[in-house]
């Protein structure tokens, strides 16, 4: 350790150590000390039907959101990477504009569209299709739509790098041998971009697991997910031990998925 090490690396590590690492270890400690020492809170977290219900709902919503987001992002990326100049530009704008707009504004946009007095219900009522407004938000449907909307742009980036790496000559060879467009896509192009799909799936799933803002606004307290449950346990009913235990479980799940992602990208680089 020279003085240069301390001067350059020190400030950031000191800040993150004091403001992040130490308090995080403190939170971990509560999970085994509050209200009494032991693993009781973990037992509660993994057996209590309420907590289990929330974990199950989170996994279900995250799985659905991941499939929908990656599928939508795949189509967008395909056009972005391989489309003509105009299509390319339009898709790029459609990805970049939502990407730079905050999660709150985007969630609010869905409220404006889907709430009882929102645009969709207004149109349907004017057209006489429905007489009473449909409940489109403050439920799981709204949460899924909002989360997919947020996550599509993030899934585009890993997909784009794997699609750019596809060797055009392989596709032309298949075409030369008479393969149909559909066959080239499903049997050659998709398998060749497998690493990008896996990367996008892991990235979106990790993001979705810790989601707080979108479910809180569009779920309206009715479809609580893990992040909101932690918030409720810590701030509404002072049950710090259980909140901390669920946080640690969430952190372990995210860590495992990230390790998988890292291994996968290293494998792809080889």
């Amino acid at each position: 350790m020279t003085s240069r090490h301390i001067l350059l690396l020190g400030p950031l590590l000191l800040l993150l150590g004091a403001a992040y690492l130490v308090p995080f270890l403190g939170v971990m400690q509560w999970s085994v000390t509050l209200p009494e020492p032991g693993l009781g809170q973990y037992r509660t977290a993994l057996t209590d039907p309420l907590v289990l219900g929330v974990i199950w709902r989170t996994l279900r919503i995250c799985a659905l959101v991941t499939v929908l987001s990656v599928a939508a992002a795949y189509v967008m990326t395909l056009v972005w990477v391989r489309g003509g100049p105009v299509a390319r530009l339009v898709v790029e704008l459609c990805i970049l504009i939502p990407f730079w707009i905050s999660v709150l504004t985007r969630a609010f946009g869905w409220l404006a569209l889907l709430s009882n007095k929102g645009l969709v219900n207004g149109w349907l009522q004017t057209l006489g299709i429905i007489s009473e407004p449909l409940t489109l938000v403050r439920n799981e449907f709204g949460v899924v739509l909002g989360m997919v909307h947020f996550l599509v742009p993030f899934a585009v980036f890993p997909l784009a790098s794997s699609m750019r790496a596809v060797d055009e000559r392989v596709l032309m060879a298949a075409r030369g041998m008479g393969a149909s467009r559909a066959r080239i896509f499903w049997q050659i192009f998709v398998p060749m971009t497998k690493s990008g799909i896996l990367g996008a799936v892991l990235l979106v799933f990790v993001f979705a697991l810790g989601f707080f803002v979108t479910p809180a606004i569009l779920g309206g307290g009715r479809s609580v997910m893990v992040a909101e449950l932690i918030y409720l346990r810590i701030f509404q009913s002072p049950d710090w031990g259980l909140g901390a235990a669920i946080s640690v479980i969430l952190m372990i799940a995210v860590g495992a998925l990230l390790a998988l992602m890292l291994r996968q990208t290293k494998g792809a680089a080889r």
Binding site: L21, F24, G26, V27, G84, V91, I97, G122, A227
Partner: protein, 267 residues
């Protein structure tokens, strides 16, 4: 050279997804002109009252000013510390570089709610010893934001450094340049665009941060996103639609401007 363009099916699907991505952003516009006090679509009469309330009610100007102040302080602190850290890793190649990097990126990869909890208890602890950098103060929020956004600057700057030719630095060193000259005269000028990008990105991230801010503020340090959150949770205030239109217009203008500029440059 791409020879096989996407067929009609992917193009139609992409158009539908594009509508899905833009629809909620467009939907905000009519709602912002409603004459009513609740979230609704105007029928006959369009009104500017919610735009006027953005100007008349001082809370909005205060929230915007607070967010700008916090964003400037947090992005400068985060970018400065991240630059030093990334330089340290690149120049000194310390042992356990991977471990140090992992620690530096921790706030970025951890679920936001876990970070929020962690920073909440950090600021509560600080509140016991001082009143400046504490829970529900602007300096406390700026510090928490700096922690959250620094990893993004570390990533950007590390990537830029990894693409920098080490021989430039070696040449400067062999001609007798000291550390200060190497850093400020050679390395940093070579990555100046990345430094500006890092400043800009970290400012935007702080400007729109809500996941952590929600936990570490209550009534004093009400940033713009925090203010919007309060209007979204209970009775939805159409003023949120007006401010959303303004924010969306800024983003669209910047992105369109940048795209047009790139297109002209490409010609």
């Amino acid at each position: 050279m791409i020879q096989l363009r996407p067929g009609p099916i992917p193009l139609i699907l992409a158009a539908l997804i594009a509508v899905f991505l833009l629809m909620p952003l467009i939907a905000v516009i009519p709602v912002s002109f409603t004459p009513n006090r609740y979230l609704s679509v105007p029928d006959a009469e369009w009104s500017l009252r919610h735009y006027r309330s953005l100007l008349d009610k001082p809370v909005w100007a205060e929230g915007i000013w607070l967010s700008i102040r916090i964003g400037l302080v947090a992005s400068v602190v985060a970018t400065a510390l991240a630059t030093a850290f990334a330089l340290g890793i690149w120049m000194l190649q310390p042992r356990f570089a991977g471990l140090l990097m992992g620690l530096a990126l921790l706030p970025m990869v951890a679920p936001p709610v876990v970070s929020a909890l962690t920073l909440y208890f950090f600021l509560i602890t600080l509140s016991k010893v001082n009143g400046v950098i504490a829970y529900d103060t602007w300096a406390g929020v700026a510090l928490a934001h700096a922690v959250m956004i620094a990893p993004f600057a570390v990533v950007l700057i590390s990537v830029a450094l990894s693409q920098l030719d080490r021989r430039i630095d070696l040449a400067a060193r062999s001609m007798g340049a000291g550390v200060m000259t190497r850093v400020f005269g050679v390395i940093l000028p070579n990555i100046r665009f990345t430094l500006l990008t890092a400043l800009f990105l970290t400012f935007v991230l702080s400007w729109e941060e809500i996941g952590v801010t929600l936990f570490i503020t209550s009534v004093n340090a009400v940033t713009l996103p925090r203010l919007m959150w309060m209007g979204l949770r209970d009775n939805i205030d159409p003023a949120i639609a007006a401010i959303s239109v303004v924010l969306i217009a800024i983003v669209v203008a910047v992105i369109l401007g940048k795209t047009l500029w790139q297109l002209r440059k490409a010609k």
